[in-house]
């Protein structure tokens, strides 16, 4: 059907005639015959807009979410409210359909939004520099390791076993190329046990706070472990918990990374999300990804531009320490809007409300017979419990009752896993007392 090529048949004829060609096929004369796809693509014929919409709605209807599956799952993806202002402004087509701001004179909108985003991330992280986004929390952590690595040769990295299991998996995948040796440090009672680290000289020490189990880590112990070896401390933080907790920078981080999805982006089946990345100012020349700086135009007016470009792949090519080009700008713009909408008091209130909901839910669940703490360490907005019935089964049965009960998690050789005996439960500001009471009642039924 080709709905989006504007030419009429007459236009095409005229253009071909201008080129001295008799047919559209002749445009491809340079493609050797043997390589031509004579049969055409074996895909269905094009559909009209309403037919496409009907099919997409059919697919959407085959998923359960929202009121059909009330969400108590977290594990790096959170069911926060996305207010109308963020949704409406964040989907303005001037942001949605712009390219990377390589021509600053006509890209001040995106550039200034990113400058404001960088300011917010820098403040949340408690570090002077923040970049204009990476793909997700996992990719931000990988980039942090590459940044901390010695410019020559391979490095050892100590990664907390309570970092998100999927993030640890991503780190290990990319280590096959970088050659970094990834050493996972086991946990004890849900917290990283740095005393259990094997001998070695790490270039970076990575800890999440709160960690995968929702537990508040002793970041100073990670700092001490890093200091013993002259390693960089990478802290993975949660931007919502940041409303209540001291910043990674205050706790000694050299680099802070995080998953920015909670800042105005729906759960989206896992993406597009937002890799938060901040670091100390003296590390800026090894910063991965884009950085927007404020400057002036020829008339002396304030203007914004991508800066320290010599770090980036299109200039440094094989010597670049990161290959990032396309990032997550639109999600970063949404985060900037969301953080402005929340503001100083709103972020603190949001964190408090999540923590209240988590505490209420945790206490109620612990009141059920056979439900026990999985770890005893303090948590904030997410917690893990042991149930008398296998957690995967509980999640399946609770789904039939209209709840996404949480994520089944466990510990294997001291390392956090997805799938396991415990249920990781997260409570956001969207959960009401009535929903929670019903949820707890259903869990009680399912585990009986």
């Amino acid at each position: 059907m080709g709905h989006f090529v504007p030419h009429s048949d007459a236009d095409i004829e005229r253009m071909l005639a201008d080129l001295g060609l008799a047919s559209l096929d002749e445009l491809f004369a340079v493609v050797p015959d043997a390589l031509r796809l004579a049969r055409g693509l074996a895909l269905e014929p094009g559909r009209s807009e309403p037919d496409v919409a009907f099919e997409m709605e059919r697919l959407a209807a085959a998923n359960r979410c929202g009121p059909e599956l009330v969400c108590f799952a977290g594990a790096g993806a959170y069911d926060h409210e996305v207010p109308a202002a963020t949704r409406r402004l964040g989907s303005r087509s001037e942001f949605v359909t712009a390219y990377t701001p390589y021509q600053p004179e006509v890209s001040q909108g995106v550039l200034q939004a990113l400058f404001e985003y960088q300011t917010f991330v820098s403040r949340l992280a408690g570090l002077e520099i923040a970049n204009a986004s990476l793909y997700d929390g996992a990719s931000a952590t990988v980039e942090a390791l590459n940044m901390a690595a010695s410019p020559k040769g391979h490095s050892t990295m100590w990664v907390s076993g309570a970092l998100h299991p999927n993030w640890r998996a991503v780190i290990k995948t990319f280590a096959a190329g970088s050659g970094h040796e990834i050493v996972e440090i086991p946990t004890r009672d849900g917290r990283t046990d740095w005393d259990a680290a094997p001998p070695g000289e790490p270039a970076a020490v990575v800890v999440a706070n709160p960690n995968f189990f929702g537990v508040l880590e002793d970041v100073s112990a990670a700092r001490t472990a890093a200091d013993l070896h002259g390693a960089a401390l990478v802290v993975a933080f949660d931007p919502v918990s940041a409303g209540l907790l001291r910043t990674p920078g205050e706790m000694g981080a050299d680099i802070a990374v995080g998953e920015g999805q909670p800042l105005g982006t729906p759960m989206s089946f896992g993406g597009p999300y937002l890799g938060l990345f901040a670091c100390r100012r003296d590390l800026v020349r090894r910063l991965p990804g884009r950085l927007v700086g404020r400057t002036r135009d020829v008339a002396g007016r304030n203007a914004y531009v991508t800066t320290l470009r010599a770090r980036e792949q299109d200039i440094r090519r094989e010597k670049a320490s990161s290959n990032v080009c396309t990032n997550q700008t639109l999600i970063a713009v949404a985060a900037m809007i969301q953080l402005s909408w929340l503001g100083t008091s709103g972020l603190a209130e949001l964190a408090l409300r999540c923590a209240r909901g988590a505490r209420y839910t945790r206490e109620a669940l612990l009141g059920l017979p056979g439900v026990e703490e999985f770890v005893t360490a303090a948590t904030l907005r997410e917690f893990a419990l042991k149930l008398p019935v296998d957690a995967t089964t509980v999640v399946e049965r609770m789904a039939e009752e209209g709840f996404l009960a949480g994520v089944a998690v466990g510990v294997e050789s001291g390392l956090a896993t997805i799938d396991g005996e415990a249920l990781l439960v997260s409570v956001t500001e969207r959960r009401t007392k009535e929903q929670i009471d019903r949820y707890v009642e259903c869990v009680g039924k399912v585990i009986r």
Partner: protein, 508 residues
């Protein structure tokens, strides 16, 4: 309607000189609109106990005061952000002939598809039995991309082109490892995108560059001289970044495979060949696609994109997981390939971008995708023919979806540089072409009109470019003057680094 009206040439829709600019002042930052006690937020009434923070967090961990963000009412926030959008060029506003970026029109129906609550509000850890729609979508898209590229299997997880490249290189590494071989080098052409060599390094390989010959194609003799048992693979874009089809591709594939190397297809320019020819049929083993180029996922001001990777049968077992698969009973489940290189994303990739691409493929169908390629190549050749004689066309062979022009001769005559042309084009109501790329062409203007621009827009683009070439020497150096800001001082930005509002307020 008068006959005079009927005879009129349509106005060029891609020209944005009518875009309003409400004055010439800078927009204040959101921080400057802030005032204590103002707010936009409100939350759901929950009926939960209202414990204090001190009852919920140990005192040593609790902040003294909240992180200072801003205090603005919603109306002021909306005004600020709306004004930012008025300082931004976009595809919806006008033509964006950025070579190698495929800035085509992004159909609105794809926006709607990606906004469906049944797609956007699904938690990624939802049991597969309760998100069958998503798994079916991913499975269907994966199959369609394999058909388009002529490959056997695909991962949709890489969130961008560069992430796809690195994933592909790790697949290459896993393949050679499985063969008991350690190879050290990857060959790329001198016209390659910068992400290629950067990804090669991150993949643990050394980059070897192969020059282009006087046709603008890979120099076959030089390539053969570089091919040996240490070469893990060759990364190519076809059509290449000069917009030329690598006619010797079958020979290149044979030469690579003869020494046991794999052939990697950088899908940046896939738009040109949709339904015409396929990387798999050319002999490629690994293909990454940029769904934000070829399949109309909007670029978002620099992302999110999506960079799926498709492979030939021998590499299928190494793909990153998990992958959506249809069982015999018609239900969908996650599977992990037997010798998977592991995860490359926190979850399954940029899922909503994948949903947009799927809706685009449904709308176009197999026939429509072929028309995309035809339109892209027709527009590019037509525009090139209009510029021949005014600008240098360094490799003047039949173009594919884009072509490279140059101001080399004009620079000698009037001092006109590619950068000046770019800045003048902004005044003409267009986005600029890509400049100074590929690196092998001096004063390069890389022009990709895409299939979605009308012939009147192409004519307006040509007229503007021709007018600029004929202007008095030095004229273009003052451009742009009609944009929200004039040329910016990039040197100052780097020298006096101010990457946050706090750095502006407290200069170091």
């Amino acid at each position: 309607m008068t006959s005079e009206h009927n005879a009129r040439v349509p106005a060029p829709a891609g020209r944005a000189t009518s875009a309003p600019v409400m004055g010439r002042d800078s927009e204040a930052t959101i921080f400057e609109y802030s005032s204590p006690g103002r707010r936009a937020w409100s939350f759901r009434s929950t009926g939960l106990p209202e414990w204090d923070a001190s009852e919920l967090v140990a005192p040593g961990l609790l902040r003294g005061a909240p992180v200072e963000l801003v205090e603005v009412p919603e109306r002021d926030l909306v005004a600020h952000v709306t004004r930012l959008t008025h300082r931004q060029y976009s595809v919806d506003l006008g033509a964006y002939p950025l070579g190698s970026c495929t800035m085509k029109y992004n159909p609105k129906l794809c926006d709607d598809a990606a906004s469906l609550p049944g797609l956007a509000n699904v938690h990624p850890a939802t049991p597969a039995s309760h998100c069958q729609g998503w798994l079916e979508l991913l499975w269907s898209l994966s199959n369609a991309l394999c058909e388009v590229t002529g490959m056997k299997a695909a991962t949709l997880a890489p969130p961008a082109g560069a992430a796809g490249e690195l994933t592909g290189l790790l697949l290459m590494r896993a393949w050679h490892d499985s063969q008991g071989e350690t190879r050290t080098k990857v060959i790329i052409p001198d016209s390659a995108h910068g992400t290629n060599p950067a990804s090669v390094t991150l993949g643990g390989y050394e980059t070897v560059t192969v020059p282009s010959d006087d046709r603008g194609l890979v120099d076959m003799t030089a390539l053969r001289n570089r091919l040996d048992g240490d070469v893990a693979g060759i990364m190519l874009t076809n059509p290449n970044t000069l917009g030329l089809f690598e006619e010797d591709i079958a020979e290149i594939a044979a030469a690579a495979h003869d020494v046991g190397a794999l052939l990697y297809y950088d899908g940046a320019n896939l738009n040109a060949i949709l339904g015409v020819t396929r990387p798999g049929d050319m002999g490629f083993d690994i293909v990454h696609m940029n769904l934000h180029k070829t399949f109309a996922v909007p670029h978002g001001g620099g992302g999110p994109g999506a960079g799926p990777v498709a492979v030939s049968a021998r590499l299928e077992d190494f793909l990153p997981g998990p992958l959506a698969q249809r069982g015999d009973d018609g239900t969908f489940a996650w599977v992990n390939p037997a010798r998977s290189i592991g995860r490359v994303h926190s979850w399954y990739g940029n899922a909503l971008a994948l949903a947009r691409a799927w809706s685009y493929i449904l709308a176009n169908g197999g026939d429509g995708l072929r028309r995309v390629a035809e339109g892209a190549v027709l527009n590019s050749n037509w525009l090139k023919s209009r510029l021949r004689g005014t600008y240098d066309i360094p490799f003047d062979r039949p173009a594919m979806h884009e072509f490279v022009a140059s101001t080399s001769t004009l620079k000698k005559q009037t001092g006109l540089r590619a950068l000046d042309v770019a800045k003048r084009m902004l005044e003409e109501g267009f986005h600029a072409p890509t400049v100074y790329f590929p690196l092998i062409v001096e004063e390069a203007l890389m022009i990709e009109p895409t299939e979605t621009e009308s012939v009147e827009t192409l004519e307006a683009l040509a007229e503007a470019l021709i007018r600029i070439a004929g202007e008095v020497a030095g004229e273009a150096a003052h451009a742009p003057r009609s944009t929200p800001v004039g040329r910016v001082d990039e040197a100052l930005a780097a020298r006096r680094l101010q990457a946050t509002w706090d750095a502006v307020c407290q200069p170091s």
